[in-house]
Amino acid sequence: MIIAPMLTRIVGHRRDFNIVVLGAGGVGKSCLTAQFVQNIWIEAYDPTIEDSYRKQIDVDLSSLDTAGTEQFTAMRELYMKTGQGFLLVFSIISQSSLHELSELREQIIRIKDDENVPIVIVGNKSDLEEDRVISRSKAFSVSQSWGNAPYYETSARRRANVDEVFIDLCRQIIRKDNTTHAQREEDPYAQYRDPGRERHAHRKRKTHRRKREGGCMIL
């Protein structure tokens, strides 16, 4: 959240980003998304409306969650195409859910044709510590091998780390977006971008993450 105002400054104006949430069935993807989009349960959550998966945090973020349609494997690509950033969610109490992520990641990279596509790895259900089968170090080493993707442990149920996950991903997308623009030499945001500040943001993120991860993040 600390980073949020900075995003605005970097971006200069509001942009639309699509985040795709992927993971095996039953890892709590939907909870994660619902929690993030909703923040607080006000009355009731209605997933059938257009804005169900949209949230504005300085940028306009749409998340596309495949929950419920995991078995429509042919559809995955459809989702993946639309996303600029990906949350790969597994459950720390399910070994296979982590395995399935590797498939998904491969598919993403193939479709995006980009090894450095913004990805955040999420180990959900951190509240079920006693049932944990995937250790932090294991998960972290996996995330390292995947292009050093940030790893977070979340509890959608307790709403722990939920916003952080999305914001980190969002930050990655923006950075990538800006880089791409810069390299194409048609960066309309150059005037807004202050490299020093960006570095600063980066540093901040690291400390931020280190705090959250309790030191398991190696940078």
Binding site: A34, R54, T73, A74, R110
Partner: protein, 1237 residues
């Protein structure tokens, strides 16, 4: 500004009594109060108050309230309280000039607060009268006793609901749900005070408590009845455009009734607290209790008014001020002599009983017209009927008083309501005024009877009666004025802006009536209730007489019409009043008046005879009054006749006690009054007749009158009138009719047991008329309501989803409990038990699931044999039969229709008429033979061999077969996502088929090495997809598009170059339909209100169901009582949402009417089997590799698939740009016009 000047001038009296001590003594004299105010507090408070005032718009500070500023006040409450209670009376005596309205308060009044201004004034509604205005919070304290909390909360909800403009929403009123909060609140109050049953010692021991309790319940039952009527209104299809008025009137009525209930509750609690405090709760003397009951709470009548010494002089002043005022405003210049008389009469009257006249210190006069005019201050009713045998109750004077007061208020209420309307004809206006006046007189008759019964109290009552009399008079005068003026201007329409005088008059009528009734009740409590037989004779109906009148009327109407313009303004005739001496019971038939003012009317001579024959019981001056007060022309006397029978005029009330108490000279007073009324009303009548409103409203009046007071309606004889009578009229009369009925003895009993029925309604959460949460007992209760058919959506949701929140065994137990505890409320036991049986029956027949539900049979079977059979033998037997059948049969015994939540595939012909011929299949002979050949082991045909439409059809049939067999339970609790042992076989089959179809598309394209051939296949699939769209088969469409858009196919640049732009555009269009953007906005819009046959994309439903499940918690909290956490209840809203989504899906579970081509189906199936491989992942990889083989990467170092998992850093920047380059080239390829195929 003018404001400021005014301020400085008045600042000393503007002082708010901000520090009044909570001291109820009223001993200090007026003078001392005043001076103390000026000295002690005025000094330190004046500045601030005047200061704040100048900044504030809303409330005008009360203008030097004559009420006692000497006492101190509690500090303001920082918290916002919804309810306040006045602990000190507040009666602003200045007339309010501008639009601000201050509410007068009496000690004990309870106020519903809408907002509190920072200056300490609150915008509130006085529960006692329903009036809304500004009131000083420093006169009030927060009112929130624990045991009242639920009731107060319920009232708030009630208010919000009814005032929210949902009044015409059938959903809300279609069931009686919105009533339950109030009922539960009352129940809670009684529960908390240990008075739930009549037999409880505390109730038995305290007479006042018992009576209050009774009154509370009878009011509650009256509200329930009104609500029922509202339900009937809304259940009916709207017949006329005025229908909403009906409903709105009823809604207003209900709000007032709800207010009344709360006031009752407050009073009850007061008595109860007294009782507890006294620690010697039993054996009280009745009189004492009665006083206690009276003392603390609401009545608008000043309790101070009974000790007249306090006020001393103002009586005279008040009266004379009033009379002069009325002469200034009420009477036109045409009648100076009349004014004279009037003033004199007041003087005489006031001097005659000056000490007692304090009660008439006309608060109503000085009170501003309230914004919400329907001040039906019905709160002063005290039912004293508890100890009296039921049969006699209706004749009790208290009941008469109540019902006549109710009637009066309903008429006035509707009258006031109508004044706010855009405009109305003079006829309508006059008609309403007449109704009100007549009703008012009837009430005065009752008061009169009470006066006569007890002389002492008669004296006390006299003044308030006089006040009421005066108000009614004023009302009539204002009405006449308005009508006169509009008549002069030559139009028949009275504009709203002319109504302010009328409004004031009508409002003060309400007020005066309230005071009068309150006082009368006080008297009744002192002297005890008594029967009121003779009057009830008069009040009764004489149907033949009415008929006679009707006949009479028709003749008179003609006469009236002929004389319309002839009538002059008559001078006031002081000689008219009948001799006072002739007043009392044995009525000499002197009918002196009407010939004088209206001699021209030819038929007038007949009417006296008519009257003589009809009204021999009436005191003569009554008759005179009647004639004078009501429309005076002789033509109307037939209607007078009818009204006389039903509604006794006010004058006897005046004269009764006056006669008997000899201190003053009754004759003088009464005669003076008579002349007043005569003159004013007579001129009113002239206005009426000159405006040309003839018999219409008269008979309308009679119509409604008779319906109020008698079962024998005259409607049949005047059928043509209805169109002239405003729609509200019948409803009002109905309303008051039922109002008075509700006080009948047996209904009270019924009401009582009804209110005290065991209920879990307070454990239920609502929103917008729908149930959003509740405990299991509360939900089960809702499922088995006695008074309304349970909402079908609720029932089907419950059946579908209950296994998510309760075990079948527990549900069965809860139902049995319901069956048991309803026995405590015998009047509803019958219907409820029947519903319990029906729930079991529906469950067993259509919603039984062997797997989970069979264990519930251990509860159901014993229940059927032991309990149900005893009450409903047939039902018990049926349940037993069903219970045996479910164990032996697979699947539901009685399949449900599509619209319900059960099994769905049975009612097929619902949308497609069976006689429509099936479209012929597009199969040529050669195609058929190709398939035959294939079946014989010949070569495998390609999709190109078949027509796209036929392929699309067969795919649709294939998918629809699976789709239609999806059971609702497969969609619950994310069953289909379970990794192993999922019962959602059909959902699984659906997604598998969808994926297989995608694979088939990729497979068929990739099987050719020749790019041109691949392009041909792509083109063919685009056509098939297009046909799928035409068939509304979105599921297959999605599968095909997904495949064509997959990275495997999309990357085949050379192939796509050979696809025509036309096909690419087509594909683009199709793509945009299934685009997941904005949560499938396009697709959702299409499916919304889509008519079957249609095969929607199942994925969106599955995602929605997943998110409803994940995004909504299983339980909700009830709002806590007090500081405690609320109870945790089932979040039924979640299940309703689930059921809605499933219902949406089920809506489409209707097969297509298409020819199945078995050979083609077989071939398709074979192809699908062929492309199926052990793992999806393998498939994807395999196809991608093939794609790479067919059209290798264009970059120099042909990269193998990233699946191989090399180091991510192996790619350099350049390569990455090549990748982007590929992306762009593809886009170019797609947009570039190419000539191929």
């Amino acid at each position: 500004m003018v404001m400021a000047d005014e301020h400085s001038a008045r600042s000393s009296i503007h002082v708010l009594p901000l520090n009044i001590l909570k001291d109820h003594s009223r001993t200090s004299s007026k003078d001392s109060k005043h001076s103390r105010n000026m000295s002690s507090k005025g000094s330190n408070r004046t500045g601030a108050s005047a200061n704040s005032q100048s900044q504030i718009t809303p409330p005008a500070t009360p203008n030097g309230s004559q009420e006692d500023l000497n006492q101190q006040m509690e500090p303001l409450q920082p918290v916002f309280h919804n309810f306040l209670r006045a602990f000190y009376p507040f009666h602003p005596t200045y007339a309010v000039a501008d639009s601000t309205v201050t509410l007068p308060l009496n000690e004990g009044d309870v106020i519903l607060v809408h907002s509190i201004h920072t200056n300490g004034w609150a915008d509130g509604t006085l529960l006692a009268s329903g009036a809304r205005g500004w009131l000083p919070t420093n006169y009030c304290e927060a009112y929130d006793p624990e045991s009242m909390r639920n009731l107060l909360k319920a009232l708030l909800n009630f208010w919000d609901l009814l005032k929210s403009g949902l009044a015409t929403d059938n959903e809300v009123f279609g069931n009686q749900e919105f009533m339950r909060g109030i009922i539960a609140g009352v129940r809670y109050l009684l529960e908390k005070s240990n008075s739930l049953t009549r037999e409880s010692p505390i109730v038995q021991g305290n007479d006042g408590l018992r009576r209050n309790r009774k009154a509370l319940l009878s009011d509650l039952s009256s509200l329930v009845k009104t609500a029922k009527r509202l339900q009937e209104y809304t259940a009916r299809p709207p017949q006329t455009e005025t229908e909403p008025d009906d409903v709105n009137n009823t809604v207003d009525e209900m709000i007032l009734k709800a207010f009344k209930i709360v006031i009752r509750g407050v009073r009850f609690l007061d008595v109860w607290e007294d009782d507890c405090r006294s620690r010697q709760p039993y054996n009280r003397v009745m009189a004492t209790v009665a006083e206690e009951v009276y003392n603390p709470p609401t009545p608008p009548a000043d309790s101070t008014s009974f000790d007249g010494s306090q006020h001393g002089d103002p009586a005279y002043d008040a009266v004379s001020r009033r009379s002069s005022r009325s002469s200034a405003t009420g009477l036109s210049g045409s009648q100076p002599s009349d004014e004279q008389t009037k003033r004199q009469s007041y003087k005489r009257m006031s001097s005659a009983y000056s000490s007692n006249a304090t009660t008439s210190r006309p608060l109503s006069m000085t009170r501003p017209a309230s914004i919400h005019m329907k001040r039906q201050s019905v709160s002063h009713r005290l039912s004293l009927t508890a100890s009296i045998p039921a049969a006699q109750r209706e004749n009790l004077v208290s009941e008469k008083l109540n019902s006549s007061h109710d009637t009066f208020l309903s008429f006035l209420g509707s009258f006031i309501g109508r004044l706010h309307l855009q405009s109305q004809s003079a006829a309508e206006l006059l008609f309403s005024v007449k109704q009100s006046v007549t009703a008012g007189r009837q009430m005065l008759v009752v008061v009169e009877a009470i006066c006569a019964h007890d002389r002492q109290s008669g004296e006390a009552l006299e003044a308030s009666r006089a006040a009421m009399y005066d108000r009614i008079n004023k009302l009539a005068v204002s009405a006449r004025e308005v009508i006169n003026s509009s008549a002069i201007e030559g139009d028949d329409v009275v504009m709203p802006q002319q109504n302010s005088g009328l409004l004031t008059a009508a409002t003060s009528c309400v007020k005066a009536a309230g005071e009068c009734v309150a006082k009368t009740k006080f008297v009744i409590e002192r002297i005890g209730d008594f029967e009121f037989e003779p009057q009830s004779d008069n009040l009764g109906t004489h149907a033949p007489a009415i008929d006679a009148i009707v006949e009479d009327q028709s003749g008179e109407t003609k006469a009236l019409e002929s004389t319309d313009e002839v009538k002059p303004v008559s001078p006031s005739p002081p000689d008219i009043p009948p001799e006072p001496a002739s007043r009392p019971p044995p009525p000499p038939l002197i009918i002196p008046t009407y010939e004088k003012p209206l001699p021209e009317v030819p038929t007038s001579s007949t009417s006296p005879d008519e009257e003589e024959s009809q009204s021999h019981l009436l005191p003569v001056n009554t008759k005179a009054m009647q004639e004078n007060e009501m429309v005076e022309s002789a033509t109307t006397d037939s209607s007078m006749g009818s009204s006389r029978r039903s509604l006794l005029p006010p004058l006897p009330n005046m004269t009764g006690p006056l006669m008997t108490s000899g201190d003053y000279s009754p004759s003088e007073i009464s005669s003076a009054h008579d002349s007043d009324f005569q003159s004013s009303f007579r001129s009113g009548s002239i206005a009426i007749s000159s405006t040309g409103t003839s018999s219409t409203y008269l008979s309308g009046l009679r119509d409604s009158e008779s319906s109020i007071l008698s079962q024998a309606s005259t409607r049949a004889t005047t059928p043509d009138l209805s169109q002239y009578v405003p729609r509200t009229q019948p409803s009002i009369s109905e309303l008051s009719l039922s109002g008075s009925q509700s006080t009948l003895a047996d209904e009270i009993d019924e009401g009582e047991s009804k209110m005290l029925e065991k209920t879990f309604a307070h454990e239920l959460l609502h929103k917008d008329g729908q149930i959003t949460g509740g405990t299991l007992p509360a939900l089960v209760e809702r499922l088995t309501t006695h008074d309304s058919t349970p909402d079908s959506m609720f029932v089907s949701t419950f059946y579908l989803t209950f296994r998510l929140f309760v075990t079948p065994v527990d549900l069965a137990k809860a139902l049995v409990d319901r069956f048991d505890y309803v026995a405590e409320s015998p009047h509803i036991a019958g219907p409820v038990r029947l519903r319990v049986y029906n729930v079991f029956k529906g469950w067993l027949e259509s919603h039984w699931r062997d797997l989970s539900d069979n264990e519930a049979l251990s509860v159901i079977e014993p229940f059927a044999t032991e309990k149900l059979s005893k009450v409903l033998p047939g039902a018990g037997k049926r349940v037993l039969e069903l219970a045996q059948k479910v164990t032996s049969t697979d699947g539901p015994l009685v399949p449900r229709l599509v619209s319900s939540m059960g099994k769905t595939s049975t009612s097929l012909a619902q949308y497609v008429p069976a006689d429509t011929p099936l479209p012929p299949s597009y199969m040529s002979k050669s195609q058929i033979s190709v398939l035959k050949n294939w079946k014989m082991g010949g070569s495998n045909p390609t999709i190109l061999d078949f027509d796209p439409l036929e392929l699309a059809r067969q795919l649709t049939i294939k998918e629809m077969n699976i789709f239609c067999s999806i059971m609702p339970e497969e969609l619950l609790g994310s069953e289909w996502t379970k990794r192993s042992g999922s019962n959602a076989v059909n959902v699984r089959a659906m997604s598998t088929l969808s994926t297989d179809l995608s694979n088939l598309v990729a497979d068929t394209i990739l099987q050719y090495d020749d790019a041109k051939k691949r392009a041909t296949i792509i083109k063919h699939w685009i056509k098939i997809a297009h046909k799928c769209l035409e068939l509304n088969n979105y599921d297959s469409l999605m599968a095909i598009i997904c495949s064509l858009n997959s990275s495997t196919i999309v990357r085949l640049k050379r192939t796509w170059d050979m696809v025509s732009q036309k096909r690419k555009d087509m594909l683009k269009t199709l793509q945009s339909i299934v685009e997941p953007d904005k949560n499938y906005a396009v697709l959702r819009r299409r499916l919304h209100d889509h008519v079957p046959p249609c095969l929607p994309f199942v994925g969106t439903y599955l995602t929605d169901l997943t998110f409803v499940d994940a995004g909504n918690p299983a339980t909700k909290q009830l709002p806590g009582v007090g500081d405690g956490e609320g109870m945790s209840v089932i979040n039924f809203d979640k299940h309703t949402r689930t059921a809605k989504i499933i219902g949406e899906l089920q809506r489409f579970q209707i097969p297509y009417r298409l020819h199945e081509v078995p050979d083609l189906q077989e071939w398709l199936q074979a192809q699908i089997v062929r492309v199926k491989s052990s793992s999806e992942h393998e498939n994807v990889q395999q196809y991608y590799r093939k794609s790479l083989l067919l059209e290798p990467r264009e970059t120099s170092h042909a990269r193998t698939s990233p699946i191989e998992g090399q180091s991510p850093f192996s790619l350099n920047q350049k390569e990455k740009f090549d990748i982007f380059g590929w992306t762009h080239s593809r886009e170019k390829a797609q947009s570039a016009p190419t000539s191929s195929i």
